[in-house]
Symmetry: C2
Subunit: 111 residues, 2 copies
């Protein structure tokens, strides 16, 4: 799913990662975090995919909302477990979305 985000400006957190071998409780945590993040004030949506590298982009109203999510206790515990268990390496980039545009195939609507 492509996230339905409002008119810019808003913020994106781009999380790119390489996993360790095996699930090791990762999937369960991911489902739990997804439920939690949706309740966060200022959360606008997210997109996620993994081929070799995994990319998750979450969208936020402002930097304060991102900071509040970072300080969420369950999220902090999950991140700690991530460094101990689930990730070989990762990179987090915090970016201000200044401009966006999209495309939708006509026949999606007419068929």
């Amino acid at each position: 799913m492509i996230a339905k985000t409002p008119k810019p400006p808003y913020y994106a957190v781009i999380f790119t990662s390489n996993r360790t071998e095996g699930d090791l409780g990762y999937s369960e945590m991911a489902v739990e975090m997804e439920k939690l993040v949706e309740k966060q004030p200022g959360f606008l949506g997210f997109e996620s995919a993994r081929t070799e590298v995994g990319i998750t982009v979450s969208y936020w109203q402002d930097l304060e909302s991102i900071r509040n999510w970072k300080e969420n206790e369950a999220h902090a515990i999950a991140r700690e477990k991530g460094r101990k268990t689930w990730y070989q390496n990762y990179k987090v980039r915090i970016a201000r979305v200044e401009h966006d545009y999209g495309f939708e195939r006509e026949n999606l609507k007419s068929q």
Copy 2:
């Protein structure tokens, strides 16, 4: 691969898409575009993954570099073919990376 990007600020183009069925020449174009983009001035790297949705994030020195790549003729033809053939829908977000940090597992180095 996680892109090796310089110290912020720099720019990210977040391209999220849903494909149509079948390859239809997509893979060949993707390889060609990858070769081309690497020659573009101001191009810093990219990351790409697809599960259901596809996410490609390319990183750039500045907005002018992004604009120049958009005006590249072969790239413009590929985008046109994308709207005609390869994509159900997509969204492009242009964002200024303001802050980044990473993690790398210790045993990657010591083993």
